[in-house]
């Protein structure tokens, strides 16, 4: 979208002074509830995550603050990476199932016509 000169940031990592890498706020640019809520669900399903939540900073800003706090000193980028991978796998499975069932449905519709 932006010119070639300055590249718009996609992902930022914000940590409070003195906080360990288990407590991080990620800023996801150009995202909203669509990715925010589904990713939050996937990450909250992980055992080592103590807290995961997100906010939309302001209606006229297209970014979300995505907070992760982990247990036992685990770097917060780990559950984020895992959540993204798992969400991709879920989508892949939904996509495969959907396409299979739509094809079955279309075949079933064609047969009675003959």
């Amino acid at each position: 979208m932006a010119g070639e000169g300055e590249k718009k940031p996609v992902l930022e990592m914000i940590q409070a002074d003195g906080a360990d890498e288990g407590c991080v706020t990620f800023v996801l640019h150009d995202e909203d509830h669509t990715l925010g809520n589904s990713l939050r669900y996937m990450i909250m399903k992980t055992l080592d995550v103590e807290f995961c939540g997100y906010t939309i900073t302001h209606p006229s800003e297209s970014k979300i603050n995505f907070r992760i706090q982990t247990r036992g000193g685990l770097p917060a980028s780990e559950p984020l990476r895992r959540g993204l991978n798992e969400l991709t796998d879920v989508c892949q499975h939904v996509l495969n199932t959907f396409q299979a069932r739509v094809n079955e449905f279309k075949e079933g519709q064609e047969q009675p016509m003959e």
Partner: protein, 362 residues
Amino acid sequence: MWAELSRLLGKMAATMKNVEEIRSRVILGEFGVKNVHTSDFPGNYPGYDDTWDMQKFQKNFRIDVVHLDESSMEFDMVGIDAAIANAFRRILLAEVPTMAIEKVFIYNNTSIVQDEVLAHRLGLIPIRADPRLFEYRNAGEEAAEEEASEIDTIQLQLKIKCSRNPRASKESSDPRELYLNHMVYSRDIKWVPIGNQADVFADSSIGPVHDDILIAQLRPGQELDIVMHCVKGIGKDHAKFSPVATASYRLLPEITLLEQVEGEKAERLKRCFSRGVIDLEDVNGKKVAKVVNSRLDTCSREVLRHDDLKNVVKLGRVRDHFIFTVESTGILPPDVLVTEAIKVLMAKCQRFLNELDSTDMK
């Protein structure tokens, strides 16, 4: 002591059943909806392993196509959380790209429709063209000077003039008979191929999806001379790019009768729900109410207004059973829209995975 113990065990069984209900059902009560939020996260319930398990998900996940035609479809998506189902719905509305008229060059407009109103009306017309075969047009300042190219733009033309119909009968007062080109329809919009588009899209006719959308009404002497540029865009930017008329889901209703309802009460119970939900069966000469198809219910909660009926039914919705309805604008078939929506969510994940890998977070 044994009595005490069995009472305790009974109570435990009851709470276990209650927990199962909290986890899997949304309860419609008289004064509100209970158990709205997803709560099956690790650590919330003793005795449950709620950590993410791909095998378990794949075993429980199911899709059933109920209806599918060129413009609409209905399907059940079972065994997935609302967060992800809602992501698909949101993407269908706002993030699956389509082609729509973005630039309107008005060379002449002597109709009574103002230029800006006309431009807006044209923008909202669905254009049949596969958006997957086009690129986004660059929105930067220096890009604005760039010529429209065959990979990112479709050119359309609307050139029409109204005149008197020489063959109209003298006493006629019907404008449709008196004038020629009195009504301007979307079918009057003609595609002007750029570059190699005439060869590439030879077998897919590009143009408005519907040919009977009224754009303007003219009187003799009035004319329109317009060139339009269609570009690829998403519904988040402008609703004209949205590929769906509607995309929504509802949870599967579940109606449970807690005790036998018969006679006049059964008749009244039947009338509280949508047609086809409750049926009356004849048992020993008595009419007994039976739930036959709770899917048809609109969940109006009318039954809770009857004091003698509200305690004999339990109204709920299955938390992970989504009944999706997708209605396309006609640009792409609805099943293609859903697959595209799923791919968009995967692309979003990939975008951040790439970013995580490339910077490796200082």
